[in-house]
Amino acid sequence: MKPAPFVHHAPRTLEEAVAVLGDVGHDGKVLAGGQSLIPLLSMRLASPAHLVDVNGVAGLDTVEVADTHVRVGALVRHAGLERHEGAAAALPLLRQAVRNVAHPAIRTRGTTVGSIAHADPSGEMPAVTVLTDGVVEAAGPRGRREIAAADFFTGPLETTLAEDELVVAVRFGRLPAGTRTGFVESARRSGDYALAGVALAVGLDGEVVTSARASFVSVTPVPDVLDLGPALAGRSARDLPLDDVVELVRSHVDPESDIHAPADYRRMLAAELTRRVLTTTTTPTEGAA
């Protein structure tokens, strides 16, 4: 469990990082928190010839709260985002979700942007990215560009990011006033990859639902949004058609069987978790955006 040989690059500026990636990106990997990459290297499941270690690059470690979004830099650790009061106030879903990312030790090293770029369908933050209509800011030899979340994820561990591009930041869109959010997942052990998880955003006007959207963890090949608006809009929070929601989720998700649970169990779990988080999110005490 030792990595194959690689060249370690340690750029100090974004420009240097982009230049190095331009040279070696075809046979290189970006190293940020390393919580997914290093085990892959150690088990020799991946053996890139170059590692572009961006941990020394200046200016990538900030969380910025703006009127329309929360912008998270590429070197912000999960733990940093989790503890960021401004981000939690502007978009409570960030803290609700990031708390479910693995264990404290992993959150201390792992980066939120890194987990989004890694695009694991069992990642929590990709699901949040799509639910908030997030925008991925990328930099590469051809300059900078912005990629809408819906256009970013293309498959398990696959994105539209070019091999010589680096994700600089992700902007999570703030939700309209009156929106409540919730996040829940279920894993075999606390902190494991979830068997199923759901992020939910519900618009409420008093007790009346105006909008409802959900995205999922571990049960869809790419994170995408299920619009529950047609089923729920106009309904009272006291009288939600939960069985309809359950059916919508069951037909939306497409889980795979693995050694921890078969697909039909995960489908049931995704639907049940949605039912539960919808119920708790629409009760009066949950956080409002």
Binding site: A4, P5, R188, R189, G191
Partner: protein
């Protein structure tokens, strides 16, 4: 007066060092040593056609590449069958490096020695092994069907078949008013110590001697095995165990191939060589345990009393049997727990499969036996509509029936004879602790809240402290330091504390003056090892006996010096004084000086001693014919048989009505290991044992596919419970001393693990209302069982 140490919850003396990162584990040693890595078989069953190592040699830093062809002398012969048994008619062992056939994924085929582990692994990646694959035998069903064989010359895949019978089972069964048959299954798991195995060899060419460090549970065993394999004099081999990060059984198996190959390579290369097992290697090339299929037929009267018990089980021993059939023998005998079975017949088949070999893991066959017996007890209770504790109670061996001889042969070849225990008292305590009689009301309350809860119970008896012996050596230095050595090894249990407590009491010295060394063949050449919950029983009694030798000698010398009778002396805090005359005293360290006639006065202790040396008799030698210099002594403890500890556990679980997630709400333990040397350490052993038991009950399994690939060979997918999955453990203790040893001790190391699978199965069954016959159980499996039993309430079914 010194506080008596035995019985006190003394803080663990090893913890400040271990918890502050100052432990010294195998991989902390030998920083300059060459490092080994292995090419391991990717196939479960294959013939080796060709091995091409040429590319590996081209790498800078590669020092050696070895295949079986290179292994000379006895190193190239099959590994030993450590514990033969007449019933083990077809024992098979592998080679240090596979000769012509591989029988499980992970079997070592090529050894690379290189400048460091990185280069060694790079080189492994360049070695091409051509295999002719054979169809593997995976799983007990396939092994039993025997359509394919693991070893061509082991028909039926049977390594061993053993039948024991007490009484006439057929007649008793035929006469029984009620009979039930249960088919049961229990999955594989494994010890999974945080530190894997590791070996570091230092070859001294001038001295032609070897010092070997191994992360083992038996340094003396490894020493003898390596000396035999390398054809070296025992006197030229010393084995030292550094700190060991857990064993739980897998490190009592020996010699592991690497324990032979690493010193062999060191001698051959004339260089220090080290190998540190990584986690993936540990999964596929160490050992697993637990996997069994069981068939229990029981006959009982209308009160639930057992009349006949007929058990057949099939034990998966993996690809080889180097450790013999200890595990199924223990299942067969310890299955009986605290009960009188009526007529008893047990027959097992130990079967080969193309999987990692099976050797004892904490509990060592007992969890399976306990599971079979306790599932049976619950089934009887359900059949007769009786309370589950009532059925158990009616079958208990009573305290006045002790010692109780089951008429069977135990794992050590000696009679299965319980020495003591008070099972009715244990059950009463357990019912009280868990609130057994109030549970019905709790269940009704929970049901009103839409919650499903269940209560489970499991009882066990554990033979602990098996022989043949352990030794203790105690030495008092002239500065008052007391050195204690015992040969068995330590993996974190707290031996440095408990053995010091015992010696402090026996010798009359302060705890902080006592320093314990374990597992170092330089200090104690005769020892067995740490397994079978035997550390405290065996080495505890051994160091007590050795301390008495030293005490007697100290009192004899002091009595001469003070001109009193030894009977009038006592030792407190390292000072020998005349009872009732505290002014007349002499330090124990001064006696240490006096005990050695070579007495250069290089320190104040020696100067003081000279004042007491008095006139000597010129006609006598300085050391008498029947004496030895020095204040030290050695003795060995060797019991006639094992001593039997026992315990009873109960758990309250909640199962989610929709998702079938299983949560342990309460976990209660009544534990009786005789006299407790250190109740805090016993408590810790119970907690740790329960944690591993919870792993086996709800989380851990070895997921082999039909091709024999282990699909979950990492800590990401093999689900060792985290602290968040382990319940708070509520404990209460009985102390029924063992009459078999001077200190009254019984073992405690494995106890916590044994009944947990049985207890959780019982509790889930109680919550769900249908039988649980296969463990471990996951939420998805419980959910599927509900579908089969159509027990999901209609409203919830519709909702999901």
């Amino acid at each position: 007066m010194t506080t008596r140490q035995v019985g006190e919850p003394v803080q663990r003396r090893e913890d400040p060092r271990l918890l502050t990162g100052n432990g010294r584990y195998l991989d902390d040693l030998g920083l300059g040593a060459l490092q080994a890595a292995f090419v391991r078989s990717p196939h479960a069953h294959a013939r080796i056609v060709d091995i091409d190592i040429d590319d590996a040699w081209e790498l800078d830093g590669v020092e050696a590449v070895y295949t079986w062809e290179d292994l000379d002398g006895r190193v190239g012969e099959p590994l030993p069958v450590l514990i033969p048994h007449p019933a083990l008619t077809h024992p098979r062992t592998g080679y240090c490096l596979a000769k012509s056939e591989v029988n499980h994924v992970g079997e070592a085929v090529v050894m690379v020695v290189a400048r460091d582990r990185y280069v060694a692994e790079d080189a492994c990646g360049r070695i091409q092994v051509t295999y002719e694959t054979l169809k593997p035998v995976v799983g007990l069903e396939n092994a039993r069907a025997a359509e394919r064989l693991v070893h061509d010359d082991a028909p039926g895949n049977v390594a061993a078949n053993l039948l024991q019978e007490v009484g006439d089972v057929d007649t008793a069964m035929a006469a029984a008013p009620n009979t039930l048959t249960l088919e049961l299954e229990i999955e594989r798991s494994a010890c999974m110590p945080m530190e894997g195995k590791g070996v570091y060899a230092r070859w001294d060419a001038d001295d032609a001697s070897l010092r070997l460090y191994s992360s083992t549970q038996t340094s003396t065993g490894v020493r003898a095995a390596v000396a035999a394999k390398l054809e070296m004099p025992l006197a030229k081999v010393e084995v030292v165990t550094p700190d060991v990060g857990g064993g739980f059984g897998v490190k009592i198996m020996h010699p592991w191939p690497e324990e032979v190959l690493v010193p062999w390579a060191a001698r051959r290369l004339g260089r220090d060589v080290k190998w540190t097992e990584d986690r993936r290697e540990h999964f596929v090339s160490s050992a697993h345990e637990r996997g069994q299929l069981q068939e229990v037929t029981v006959g009982f009267d209308d009160d639930g009393r057992l009349l006949a018990l007929d058990v057949r089980f099939w034990h998966d021993n993996g690809a080889y049997t180097p450790y013999g059939i200890i595990v199924p023998i223990i299942t067969a005998t310890q299955l009986l727990g605290p009960y009188k079975p009526g007529a008893y017949r047990v027959e097992f088949w130990s079967l080969y499969t193309n999987t990692v070999l099976v050797t004892p893991y904490r509990g060592a066959g007992r969890p399976q036996g306990c599971y079979a017996m306790e599932r049976t007890m619950d089934a009887i209770a359900a059949h007769l509509g009786l309370d589950r504790t009532e059925v158990r109670s009616r079958n208990f061996i009573q305290p006045d029936e002790m010692p109780y001889d089951h008429g069977l042969m135990f794992q050590d070849g000696r009679p299965l004879k319980y020495d003591s225990g008070d099972f009715p008292a244990s059950l009463a305590k357990l019912k009280d602790l868990v609130g057994w009689d109030d549970f019905a009301a709790y269940r009704e309350q929970a049901a009103r809240e839409g919650r499903k809860v269940g209560l489970g119970i499991g009882c066990y008896v554990e033979g602990t402290g098996v022989g043949p012996y352990e030794g203790g050596h105690v030495q008092v230095e002239t500065n008052g330091r007391v050195n204690v050595a015992t040969g068995l090894t330590t993996q974190g249990q707290g031996h440095q504390t408990v053995l010091a407590q015992i010696v402090a009491d026996q010798l009359g010295v302060r705890l902080e003056d006592v320093h314990v060394t374990t597992g170092d063949t330089r200090r104690m050449a005769y020892a067995v090892g740490t397994f079978a919950s035997r550390g405290a029983v065996m080495s505890g009694n051994a160091v007590a006996l050795a301390a008495k030798v030293v005490r007697d000698k100290a009192l004899r010398i002091a009595a001469d010096a003070l001109e009193v009778s030894p009977d009038d002396l006592e030792i407190t805090d390292g000072v020998i004084s005349v009872k009732g005359a505290p002014g007349t005293s002499i330090d124990l360290k001064t006696i240490a000086v006096m005990s050695n006639p070579l007495r250069y006065a290089f320190d104040t202790a020696a100067q003081a001693a000279t004042q007491f040396s008095g006139a000597f008799d010129p006609d006598k030698p300085p050391v008498a014919d029947d004496d030895e210099p020095g204040l030290e002594g050695q003795d060995f403890y060797s019991p006639t048989q094992a001593t039997f500890a026992n315990g009873m556990h109960a758990a309250v679980v909640e199962t989610d009505p929709v998702t079938a997630e299983i949560r342990i709400l309460r976990y209660c333990v009544i534990h009786d290991c005789g006299v407790m040397v250190n109740p805090m350490i016993v408590e810790g052993q119970v907690h740790g044992g329960v944690a591993q038991g919870v792993g086996g009950a709800l989380y851990e399994r070895m997921v082999y596919d039909e091709g024999g690939q282990l699909l979950n060979a990492s800590f990401m997918d093999f689900l060792v419970p985290y602290a968040s999955e382990v319940p708070h453990v509520e404990t209460d203790h009985l102390e029924t001393p063992s009459p078999l040893n001077p200190l009254g001790l019984k073992g405690a190391g494995e106890a916590g693990t044994i009944p947990v699978t049985a207890v959780i199965a019982s509790a889930v069954e109680d919550a769900e209302g249908f039988p649980i016959r296969s463990m471990p159980i996951s939420p998805a499996e419980l959910w599927e069982l509900r579908r089969q039993h159509s027990s999901v309430p209609a409203a919830l079914e519709g909702a999901s």
